[in-house]
Symmetry: C2
Subunit: 154 residues, 2 copies
DNA sequence: GTGGCTGCAAAGCTTTTGCATGTTC
DNA sequence: GAACATGCAAAAGCTTTGCAGCCAC
């Protein structure tokens, strides 16, 4: 996605907030702008740290509340991880994830670049699927060249 | 998997432990037996609770240590979840998961029942994939019939 | 007998909650 | 001005750690 598309999403965000019955605050704009501009799938503390340069007085609890709210409203999604910290993603176009077991980095795999799976499951499973999440586990190029052991760093 | 296959895996487990340089203890046998016999993807506390009927004196910290060790040795795998509790799975044959957004239940989708994805990614991604994890999100049959809202219970 | 394992208790993190103050509409 | 959002601090999980005693080999 180009930078133009990002700034457009940021520009449209106040409208989306009001449409969802949410007030527009500098804190919420900062959280959304940070998330939409990165492909690093940050955890709440990453967001908090990044935002403090803009809004020094922001509190970590507020970041948690905002992320919860955004996820509830469907503005961001929470990525499934094995670890114990939540990671968020504002990229909502269909895509999958490449999870590096060595450095923990989560890389995007856009839907257009790899055939997406169909959502319709055989009726025998008695399950109404609304979304699919695919994670490839392994080593990213940088880590495999360094022969890093799994979970060396995060 | 039939009950026979389960008891066989339990019977072979002491051998696997020793081969991996681990001592065989009642606690470890209980954890493994519990995990291999269920399809509920329990969290550490579930394991702890279930095992206390066999080994009343077992400590939760020990359960955590054992699960960590088993995962390190490849005896079990840790399932990626959005929540903040770890969930484990002793079923290591290729399979995917159906995650119910209402009740949180994780159902298995065996590899043979649904075409598995190939692991080879186009070279341009510079990623060495060793495993794939697919989660279908949605509502299980029971919850969709009850018109439960998402995350009503866990 | 020895090394590794367990159980207990305490500490460490992440996340949530309550409430007074401040802001948006 | 009213309703909602924020910030602070405290509490509530979940998970890890340190260490003395115990057990498998």
């Amino acid at each position: 996605m180009g930078g133009g598309a990002i700034s457009q999403r940021i520009a449209e965000f106040p409208k989306r907030c009001r449409a969802a019955g949410l007030k527009v605050t500098p804190q919420r704009m900062a959280v959304y702008s940070m998330l939409i501009a990165t492909d690093r799938h940050p955890c709440p503390d990453d967001v908090y740290t990044a935002i403090r340069s803009d809004i020094p007085a922001i509190s970590l609890a507020t970041v948690y509340k905002i992320l919860d709210l955004f996820q509830e409203r469907g503005f961001v999604r929470r990525v499934s991880t094995e670890g114990q910290v939540a990671r968020y993603d504002a990229m909502l176009d269909p895509h999958h994830h490449l999870v590096c077991s060595s450095c923990g980095r989560i890389q995007d795999l856009m839907g257009g670049e790899f055939p997406p799976l169909q959502l319709t499951l055989p009726a025998e499973f008695d399950f109404q699927a609304t979304g699919i999440e695919i994670q490839f586990h392994g080593q990213c190029g940088a880590c495999s060249r360094q022969h890093k052991p799994a979970r060396a760093a995060d």
